[in-house]
């Protein structure tokens, strides 16, 4: 029986990739272990190997094809004596070869095989795909500024590179940041440009190298400490809080700590409880820290540059699922955004949705759905969680009288809880309904695809909450 070779998923968040190059031709004999082709993901170029012996009967996806969805059949291997035409007949009867773009529209983040089982339920899925909705232009960007379409990954790299060119006291340290070019390829090219003195691979010892970074910052250097993910920074949280955040106060203002701790935060996809946690609320509680969690590539760039220039310790929370998403980024020589300022991503008059980071994907899609039902939502992207721009939220609530918060983190003592409390204290008289929170569920992140989806917030939940506070 002919064997289909499928486009493999080569990382937890990969949904599609480029078929860069076939290394075997049709008709070539292949043995298990032979390299068949090279696949490019946004992070790396990987080889795929044959796992069966036979003949490469048919190449279904040509060299150079972009956006090949995971699980698309890309070739047929025939075992000895098989007829190539049988293979073609089989593959054409299979609907899984749909182009990635089409699939994405209703895709959920986890790259689970969509071939079998019920069709994905459209409403409550939708995590990763970039929203089709327009995001309002940032008033910080001069009108008419030329834009470049960039991934979050590229924006972060450019922000670091630009700042490192500007200030020789800035250096980057972390696991795999230099020779490997970054575990998530955020630091791609930085070693080549700045050398090993300023782009430093560390051992896998978070507690130790976070302390080394803080010590260097206390003496006046400006470290960027990359955590491969914030989950691992739990080992370093002592230095982040006890050493970085508190020393200025404890020294009566003598010892500033200009340091940025950055890396991916929150749930990726299918990596389960120990690798899927949102720390935004944790760090946002700590005086002496600034906490930033952007959503768009432009905000990632402008705010990372601001974080690096800030004389205080800054927690910069990225998101793995957002790394590969593209947004318009202003083409300016020095694009720096103010820390502590929210942005109205979508104007509306009926209900205020407040979110940040990847939570914005749910909020923006929900706003689109609500518009279809006659409810105009105003969507606020907090961008900075500490100091929090609660004024912008209050101004919006004065207009709408209703508010829903959206985050992937846990409900208790979450960012949403803080917003609810502040609205109670400062905008109670403007509220026409209790404020509701849409959050990640109060459970450790499960591994199973269906449970993971249930543990995260959904667009449907946001829509439902927005309708509830609107009494509709």
């Amino acid at each position: 029986m002919p064997i289909e070779v499928l486009m493999p998923a080569l990382s937890p968040t990969m949904e599609s990739g480029k078929l860069a190059k076939w290394l075997k031709n049709e008709g070539d004999a292949v043995k298990s272990g032979d390299v068949l082709a090279e696949i490019e993901t946004d992070k790396a170029t990987m080889e795929i190997e044959a796992i069966d012996d036979g003949t490469l009967g048919k190449i279904l996806i040509k060299d150079g094809t972009e956006d090949v969805a995971v699980n698309t059949p890309i070739a047929i291997i025939l075992v000895t004596g098989e007829d190539p035409s049988a293979a073609i007949a089989k593959s054409s009867g299979n609907g899984a070869a749909a182009p990635a773009a089409e699939k994405k529209a209703e895709e959920s983040a986890p790259p689970v095989a969509p071939e079998k089982g019920p069709a994905p339920d459209k409403a409550p899925s939708a995590v990763a795909a970039p929203p089709k909705v327009e995001i309002q232009p940032d008033p910080e960007v001069p009108e008419g500024t030329e834009m470049v379409h960039q991934t979050v990954r590229e924006a972060l790299r450019d922000a670091m590179a630009e700042e490192m060119r500007r200030d020789p006291d800035i250096f980057l340290m972390g696991e795999e940041v230099a020779e490997y070019q970054g575990a998530y390829k955020i630091s791609q090219g930085l070693l080549d440009e700045f050398g090993a003195r300023r782009v430093i691979d560390t051992p896998i010892t978070e507690y130790g190298f976070a302390g080394v970074g803080v010590g260097a910052a206390l003496s006046g250097l400006k470290p960027i400490v990359e955590f491969m993910t914030w989950n691992f920074a739990m080992q370093a949280i002592d230095h982040i809080i006890n050493s970085a955040a508190k020393t200025l106060y404890m020294s009566g203002g003598q010892m500033g700590c200009p340091i940025v701790f950055r890396g991916p935060n929150g749930a990726a996809a299918r990596v389960a409880a120990q690798h899927s946690q949102d720390y935004t609320a944790w760090y946002s509680q700590v005086p002496g820290l600034k906490v930033i969690a952007p959503y768009t590539a432009a905000d990632f760039k402008g705010l990372l540059k601001a974080a690096i220039r800030d004389p205080n310790p800054v927690i910069f929370l990225e998101n793995e699922i957002l790394y590969g998403q593209s947004f318009d980024v202003p083409k300016l020589d020095d694009f720096v955004l103010p820390i502590g300022k929210a942005r109205i991503a979508r104007a509306g008059s009926d209900v205020t949705l407040v979110s940040f980071s990847i939570g914005m994907t749910y909020a923006l899609k929900a706003a689109e759905e609500l518009a279809g039902q006659g409810i105009e939502a105003e969507v606020i992207d907090l961008r900075t969680i500490r100091p929090m721009d609660i004024e912008t939220v209050i101004e919006s609530v004065k207009k709408t009288g209703r508010c829903v918060t959206v985050e992937e983190g846990w409900p208790q003592s979450g960012v949403g809880s803080e917003i609810v409390a502040q609205l109670m204290e400062k905008a109670f008289d403007y509220l026409d309904a209790p404020v509701l929170r849409v959050t990640g569920k109060d459970v450790p992140m499960p591994y199973a695809a269906n449970l993971e989806k249930l543990a995260l917030p959904s667009v449907a939940e946001v829509v439902e909450a927005a309708k509830a506070v609107s009494y509709k």
């Binding site: 010892t205 302390g211 080394v212 803080v214 003496s219 404890m250 020294s251 009566g252």
Partner: protein
């Protein structure tokens, strides 16, 4: 047990010391006595309720910081844990500012917001004063990282106790310091007790000078009660680190006479053990005896020095008792820059 411990101190490296000149002896005497009298006064003020919270006295360990400081040069940094008063005085910080911080007054080094365990002086290159056991080891390694990054010839002197020596981050730091050849000297102040637990009950091996062996970091054990031995070891270690060869470990065999903190009655060790250390190994008495035996000083000269020091310490205590508490507005300052 007391005898064993004393023998341990005696047997090590006494042949490696270099005799002090009269001037060096007098300086060491004056500086160690300053720390002793300061700490005695701090203990007194604590008893009077003027100093609150935790207060860890350095009495008995004075030779360590005084000997090390004489081996350092301008620009070298010092960082330590919470038993930090001696280190601050040794770096030349003003006793008034230190005492006023202990009493939580506006004239304290941290304007009353740090207290005994958290004090700093950028001017004197003193980087704290850290309250989390072992935290200063990674931070001090970071200071050394900055020295190397700037190529500025300075060495970071990182003090920690035998208790902290078992912390995981110490070994993470050793690894990076050796890997990157950072100019750092780790000074383990082995005073034999991590809080109330004797080191042999907390540490699988108690020769802390060997704790860097698997990282190929050289180490030596030194009689930390003899300021001359400390100075000689400090010279060797700092020269090694400054030459670009990387970190160096000195284990100072020392002893604290008081409890872990002011609230510790130290019932975990016999009184005789303490008395024996005081009688036979007191760092200040050793210097006094040499000054007298060599005919370099007369009893009354040394008493006069003591009197001068008491005046300085009393002035510091008066200042620290009368200086106002920080303005309430200080609550909200120095959180961010």
């Amino acid at each position: 047990m007391a005898a064993t411990a004393a023998a341990q101190v005696k047997s090590e490296s006494s042949n490696l010391l270099v005799e002090f000149t009269k001037e060096e002896e007098l300086t060491a005497f004056r500086e160690m006595l300053m720390i002793r009298r300061f700490e005695e006064k701090a203990g007194q003020l604590y008893g009077m309720g003027l100093i609150g919270g935790f207060c860890h006295l350095y009495i008995g360990q004075e030779a360590v910081v005084v000997g090390m400081q004489t081996a350092m040069k301008e620009g070298d940094q010092v960082i330590t844990g919470y038993r930090d008063h001696g280190h601050m005085l040794a770096t030349g910080m003003d006793p008034k500012g230190v005492m006023a911080e202990l009493t939580g007054r506006q004239g304290g080094y941290s304007r009353g917001k740090g207290g005994s365990m958290h004090m700093f002086s950028r001017e004197k290159n003193f980087y704290g004063g850290h309250g989390i056991v072992g935290g200063q080891v990674s931070l001090g390694t970071g200071l050394a990282f900055a020295n190397k990054f700037r190529n500025d010839d300075s060495v970071s002197i990182v003090y920690f106790g035998d208790g902290a020596a078992n912390q995981g981050q110490v070994y993470e730091s050793f690894n990076m310091a050796k890997l990157w050849k950072l100019p750092v000297v780790y000074v383990v102040e082995n005073n034999r007790y991590g809080m109330g637990t004797a080191h042999h009950r907390a540490s699988s091996t108690t020769d802390f000078s060997k704790r860097g062996l698997s990282f190929d970091i050289p180490g030596e054990q030194v009689d930390g009660m003899d300021v001359r031995a400390v100075k000689a070891a400090g010279d060797r270690a700092i020269a090694y680190a400054r030459s670009g060869q990387g970190p160096y470990i000195i284990e100072m065999l020392t002893y604290r006479y008081r409890g872990h903190s002011m609230s510790d009655p130290a019932k975990y060790r016999p009184k005789e053990e303490v008395q024996k250390m005081r009688d036979e190994h007191d760092p200040i008495e050793q210097v006094r005896k040499r000054l007298l035996d060599n005919g370099w000083s007369k009893e009354e000269d040394l008493n006069a020095i003591d009197k001068e020091i008491r005046v300085v310490v009393n002035d510091a205590a008066d200042f620290a008792s009368s200086d106002p508490e920080p303005d309430p507005a200080e609550l909200w300052t120095d959180i961010l820059r």
